[in-house]
Point group: C2
Chain length 420, copies 2
């Protein structure tokens, strides 16, 4: 994989040019894209031209190429949202996140494959670790593109588990930041209350570098010696749905972090969080039926059966049920804040298991609660199941404390280095 | 003006057809649009064809025509956001709100004029009550189109004061509902944390009818006998910026409501709300500099001086200042909820005065705090200044209690009926 931070440092030092990084990506794309299919659209020649811009190497992203999930508007690429309904759609402007990437000196190398309208119906992308398996979704191409070494940075989005789950399956780091840390204007929404933009890169420090460069916020962690974090092991209400290998992975991560100096506790799981877990689907369904009203009402027969069926059912979710789910959410956020008063992060699975067969993109079981809570989540790669497929562990921080979450995730990542 | 509720009832009773309503609008448009300039795009013939659809009269909006502010995507009209940067832009889908209007059996008659990117630079619209005055902004065409009798319903949006202020200037009712009651997906954003979609119509019951039909929520108030509300007169931190006529209007509304049976109190104004008032600009500026990154970075010289200057300054708002403003907001929301524990609504000016000269769209002085609080606001028309120009009074409800706010607003409206 291409380390964004390492590339940026070499550009900063004058040992590498932005154009040479495009060449690295181009070589990986030539070797892997035919198998992996991470890109919905790609323009290497345009990227090469952009890489010649004066002063690019001195800007926050140092001219690094970025892959953008194909639900964000781009003025220079088609933006098709993973559905034939929008085939050939050419927006007149960039989404805010895309414009911020360019403002920071990033080069949009291509659009990465999204599942259909960022729901569950798979796209063409395959898992770089095993082409017979799913890369996860809905940010399939962003996770796979980084995993295959074709991109140092990619952006995606999560409404249920669309960032952390594919990162886990593909063995890359990812940050689903605090709700709205990254702007969503100009993104194709699914459920506004949940939709969160995030970042994929090779390791935790790479993700932190990219998020810092795009936002201009103090999120870099590579020049800091962090204190050992206080970690809460979260055997949540869905712990039993994790595979034996995944349970072992999380417990291994916890033990290794503890051995490296972290405080480890296992707080009781509050019933309010289990209640919020179930509220997620109510909110997602109610909003999606409205957010996708145009596609459902005008193009119903061009939707996949899985999306159409979900929306058929979502039509029956009442405003009262939705409002009740919002109240449950509000209470649960306070309960979670109280739970984490003396804990920096929670440690929990990123997904139920390693990547499934390609007919599905896997379930968001271990992600939806955290999306609803709006808290920062980091996928820490480095472990594998007995078949050798990547297993990610998830570090969940406090709302608005994204840097602390990244520091703790890097601590866990470091503690796992070398573990097989 | 055309009463949406009255038209809907006549269609329901079989005394009027949706096509006949289009004819009413067309006649008003022929008479007034040349002077008023409420529409950015208009298609009466398409509306006439759509009005023939079977069963339309039985649907929630009964086939009524709706004007849509030109910052919401529409698949069948250009969507230009009030700026030449997007001249001729033709979205491939409808914004969620537009799709919900059509789903409810509304007909989009045209796009209404927005100021440039929903900020302050005026469009072509003039105030129907005095063509030498501003209609207010940024939802200029929606307010003026209803005021001129060309539309029974229009939708707009508010980030500072872009719904309630033009409604006040144009003498129409309007609802800026609780944050996110109406969906914003597919709308051109300015500051996501603040951007709120809302509705204009002739009177409060008309607005409630439209909001109920579009959302499917229990918001209608026309078949209810409401209890007299508990009203808090809010001489807020900006009370001194209201003209003598506006202060008199609000006091008159308070006294009339009290005479009609309302309880009237005047709670002390909490310092936390004054603090939040000042936080609004920090949040708006910080977000706008990011939300409009594409327009600012690529088309700076096509922005108006007033928008460009704002964004130039906004570049210097720090993330720390923004985060602090968000914390101030969170605290203020709790203070406001406590303040209103025993009050149904606050009563306060909708704008500092009647409509200003057309060089500006007027200030959002009396609106920005409530947009930030996310609470429902209703402009109640019916009063006028000494020159005879409309003055609106603003009824502010509790978050999520939009129906209660509408009921109280109707009570005030009724108490004012006949007052000159």
């Amino acid at each position: 994989m291409l380390s964004a931070l390492d590339l940026a440092r070499r550009i900063e030092a004058g040992d590498l040019t932005p154009a040479a990084v495009i060449d690295l990506c181009a070589a990986a794309i030539a070797a892997r894209e035919g198998d992996v299919g991470a890109f919905a659209a790609l323009d290497v020649e345009s990227a090469r031209r952009q890489a010649q811009a004066a002063g690019l190497g001195a800007r926050p992203l140092h001219g690094l190429p970025v892959g953008v999930k194909d639900i964000f508007d781009t003025v220079d690429f088609p933006t098709e949202f993973g559905t034939p309904i929008y085939a050939g759609n050419r927006p007149r402007g960039d989404a805010a996140l895309v414009a911020l990437i360019r403002r920071a000196g990033g080069i949009v190398l291509g659009k990465t494959v999204s599942t259909e309208l960022a729901f569950l119906n798979p796209g063409k992308t395959r898992n770089p670790h095993d082409l017979g398996r799913s890369p996860g979704g809905s940010s399939s191409g962003s996770a796979a593109g980084v995993a295959a070494g074709m991109l140092p940075i990619a952006v995606g989005s999560q409404t249920g588990g669309s960032i952390i789950r594919p990162a886990s399956y593909c063995g890359v780091a990812a940050l689903k930041p605090s709700y709205r840390l990254l702007p969503t204007a100009g993104m194709k929404h699914f459920a506004v209350y949940l939709d969160t933009a995030g970042v994929f890169a090779a390791g935790v420090a790479d993700v932190a570098f990219a998020a810092a460069a795009i936002t201009g916020r103090d999120l870099r962690i590579d020049r800091t010696e962090a204190d050992a974090p206080r970690i809460g092991l979260a055997r949540s209400n869905v712990w039993g749905e994790a595979s034996a290998d995944m349970q072992t992975a999380v417990e291994t991560a916890a033990k290794r972090a503890q051995a490296a100096g972290a405080q480890l506790v296992e707080p009781a799981w509050p019933a309010a969080l289990t209640e919020a877990y179930h509220a997620h689907g109510v909110i997602q369904d109610y909003e999606a039926f409205r957010t996708l009203a145009f596609e459902y009402d005008r193009h119903r027969n061009r939707l996949s059966p899985i999306l159409r069926d979900m929306l058929d059912k979502a039509a029956h979710v009442s405003a009262d049920a939705y409002d009740a789910a919002r109240r449950i959410t509000k209470r649960a956020r306070q309960v979670l804040a109280d739970l984490m008063a003396d804990i920096d992060v929670l440690l929990t699975p990123s997904a139920p298991s390693a990547a499934p067969a390609p007919e599905t993109t896997g379930p968001a079981t271990f992600n939806r609660l955290w999306t609803l809570m709006g808290t920062p989540c980091v996928n820490v790669p480095g472990l594998a199941d007995t078949a050798g497929l990547p297993l990610g562990v998830q570090v969940v921080g406090r709302f608005g404390r994204d840097r602390e979450a990244l520091l703790a995730a890097r601590f866990v990542e470091g503690a796992l280095a070398g573990v097989k």
